[in-house]
């Protein structure tokens, strides 16, 4: 409950507005928490090691040879410090997964295409 003080300048509409702002923020954050933390519904971007059998062009920088992968975090196994899991390739029928191989129009600073 808000109090009125000697100034008496906070109106009912101010209190209503504070309640609307608070409720809207809390509800949105609740859904955001559910979407991101529980469902892991967001994209992760990775540099996947260039696969020799792919026959596609790969991106090359001074230190890396790769193609780009976007995957939903839900499908990515964040297996830190182990090398037993494959986080870099799309599974069959995996929604939102995209593997990007090199082409001239996709090049960013420091990158070039190489054909393996």
């Amino acid at each position: 409950m808000l109090y009125l003080n000697s100034y008496n300048f906070m109106k009912k509409e101010d209190i209503t507005l504070i309640i609307i702002f608070s409720l809207a923020s809390v509800v949105t954050m609740f859904f955001g928490f559910d979407k991101i933390m529980i469902d892991k519904d967001f994209l992760v971007y990775m540099h996947a090691p260039c696969r020799i059998e792919s026959g596609n062009s790969c991106f090359q920088t001074e230190s890396e040879l790769y193609h780009k992968v976007y995957r939903k975090a839900y499908y990515v196994d964040f297996c830190h410090k182990t090398d037993l899991c494959d986080v870099f390739s799309c599974k069959e029928d995996e929604q939102g997964c995209e593997e990007i191989f090199c082409s001239e129009d996709l090049l960013e600073e420091g990158e070039r295409c190489v054909q393996i």
């Binding site: 509409e13 923020s25 971007y45």
Partner: protein
């Protein structure tokens, strides 16, 4: 490089890990976080009824949560944590920018911001709410290196655009406040507070813009120090202008807490850059602490002297007003005797002058009586005798008593009573005074048109409203309206007999009954509405 080779530390309690490589991250977060929390609660708890204190707490709370969430981004290793807390920053950032506008508006104008602005702020919030947790908020998390970085979506441009507008709007509010407010002391306070708030908002906004162009996360951290500048200015204003109604000793304690906090941070500073900033902050706060300590002693002495001076002045004022009242009464009796023919028939000229003299003395006595009555109410020497009575019956009686005077002034009286039970427990004589004062005030400041009087009841309160078509109230008038001797800036043009005590008395009586009184007006020549609320 891929995530498999990133040797991330596991965060403990969300924020403790070795992942934040730059010590400035902890330095820039921990100090503003603690200071804003400490200040927000300290100022609010000192005066829980103050709207400005309340808004100050909200601003500091939102900022503290923002800082805490931002620190998680520096320390946590899990992508979902980084994505969630990062996206939440957009919501919090928008909220504390809006609260900053509110706070500034309330501080300068002592009124709520316009309704259009409130609706606009809500509408502009919708895209942030809808898109923050989507790819428009944060496009994707980058696993290709060990940066624990997310790629921000287009919402960031929208947010920074709004922040730019907020910054310039606040700047405009400060400049307009300087033009509109004539009292130089209040103008100085407003400007200083506005500068403090603007430095907080501005540092934050500039930090964001720098980040947008240079992607330098270390420089970006300095945007948080804007809050420290704002808080230091606030401490100075508490000492110098006594804002927030905080006792000096409280301000003294809080300043030394800042000194200790800043000092402690020195122990954690690992590089020369951090140490340099730490030493600068430490010197600044020590200087402020010293200034405060010496001020407290001086002001305490002055307060003691002022207390005795006030006591003496009160006695003198009571003595003088009683004496004046005695002289006026004697003079009134002489005029009355003359007019009643005690000294024989009067010539028309002497009779005319005697009537003017009698009227003038009557007004003088009434004014002295009002001032003495206000003083008695203020010192608590007036006792309230409470009993149950019908508010609507009382109001109808008062209106009928006052109707001839109001109609004589060429005004129409319109009454509206809700069909409800208006039984109220209070001092009937004092509540009658409230009704009389508010109606009389409306009729004196209305040259033509009507006075609408209404009485309503909700589940929690009785609402007595008087709406007039009179001269209206400016923002400055509203700030002093219910204060002792408070009068509108141009009130003497409409009501030369105004003492400025009527509404002050009304306020004290309403508050003694657990109620409140307030005024609303769209401005000069727009009429006014006076609303008295009493608990059911």
């Amino acid at each position: 490089m891929d995530i498999l080779s990133c040797n991330f530390d596991t965060a403990r309690f969300l924020i403790f890990s070795s992942n934040a490589e730059e010590p400035i991250a902890y330095f820039a977060h921990i100090i503003p976080l603690f200071l804003s929390l400490l200040f927000g609660f300290f100022i609010f708890l000192n005066n829980r009824r103050g709207e400005i204190n309340f808004l100050f707490l909200i601003l500091n709370l939102l900022f503290s949560v923002w800082v805490f969430f931002d620190l998680i981004l520096w320390t946590h290793e899990k992508p979902e944590y980084i994505m969630f807390f990062w996206a939440s920053l957009f919501i919090l950032e928008y909220l504390f920018f809006i609260v900053a506008i509110y706070l500034l508006h309330f501080f300068i104008y002592k009124v709520s911001p316009p309704l259009k602005l409130k609706i606009l702020s809500l509408v502009l919030f919708i895209p942030i709410l809808v898109f923050s947790y989507t790819s428009i908020g944060l496009s994707h998390y980058i696993l290709s290196d060990c940066s624990r970085y997310a790629y921000e979506g287009v919402i960031i441009y929208y947010l920074y655009f709004l922040e730019t507008i907020v910054f310039f709007y606040m700047l405009w509010l400060i400049i307009r406040g300087r033009k509109e407010i004539s009292d130089p002391a209040i103008r100085r306070q407003n400007t200083l507070f506005g500068f403090g708030l603007l430095s907080f908002v501005g540092t934050f906004w500039i930090g964001n813009i720098v980040l947008l162009f240079y992607l330098d996360w270390v420089i970006e951290q300095y945007k948080l120090l804007g809050m420290v500048i704002f808080l230091i200015i606030t401490v100075f204003m508490i000492i110098r202008f006594h804002i927030f109604n905080i006792k000096l000793i409280g301000a003294q304690i809080i300043t030394w807490i800042i000194v200790i906090l800043v000092g402690i941070q020195f122990l954690f500073a690992e590089d020369y850059f951090s140490r340099f900033w730490n030493i600068m902050a430490l010197f600044f706060t020590i200087g402020l602490g010293w200034y405060l300590t010496s001020s407290v002693k001086k002001i305490e002495n002055q307060k003691e002297q002022l207390f005795f001076a006030n006591k003496n002045q009160e006695t003198i004022v009571h003595f003088v007003t009683h004496q004046v009242k005695a002289y006026l009464t004697r003079s009134r009796n002489i005029y009355a005797s003359l007019l009643e023919g005690d000294y024989g028939p009067l010539s028309p000229e002497i009779e005319r002058v005697s009537r003017i003299g009698l009227e003038s003395d009557m007004k003088g006595i009434e004014n002295v009586h009002t001032i003495l009555h206000a003083a008695d109410l203020k010192t608590g020497t007036v006792k309230f005798i409470k009993a149950k009575f019908d508010l609507s019956n009382l109001l109808k009686k008062i209106v009928e008593q006052m109707r001839p005077t109001i109609e004589y002034r060429g005004l129409t009286v319109i009454q509206k009573y809700q069909d409800a039970d208006f039984i109220f427990e209070g001092d009937e004589m004092r509540i009658a005074e409230v009704f009389r004062n508010v109606i009389d005030n409306a009729s004196r400041y209305t040259n033509k048109g009507e006075i609408k009087i209404s009485l309503e009841k909700t589940t929690k309160k009785f609402i007595f409203t008087v709406r007039d078509t009179g001269v209206g109230l400016s923002k400055e008038d509203m700030a002093v309206l219910f204060q002792q001797g408070g009068r509108g800036k141009e009130s003497h043009l409409t009501n030369i007999d105004s003492t400025g005590y009527g509404l002050f008395i009304t306020k004290i009586i309403a508050e003694e009954h657990g109620g409140s009184v307030r005024a609303e007006s769209k401005g000069r020549d727009q009429g006014s509405v006076f609303i008295v609320e009493l608990p059911v």
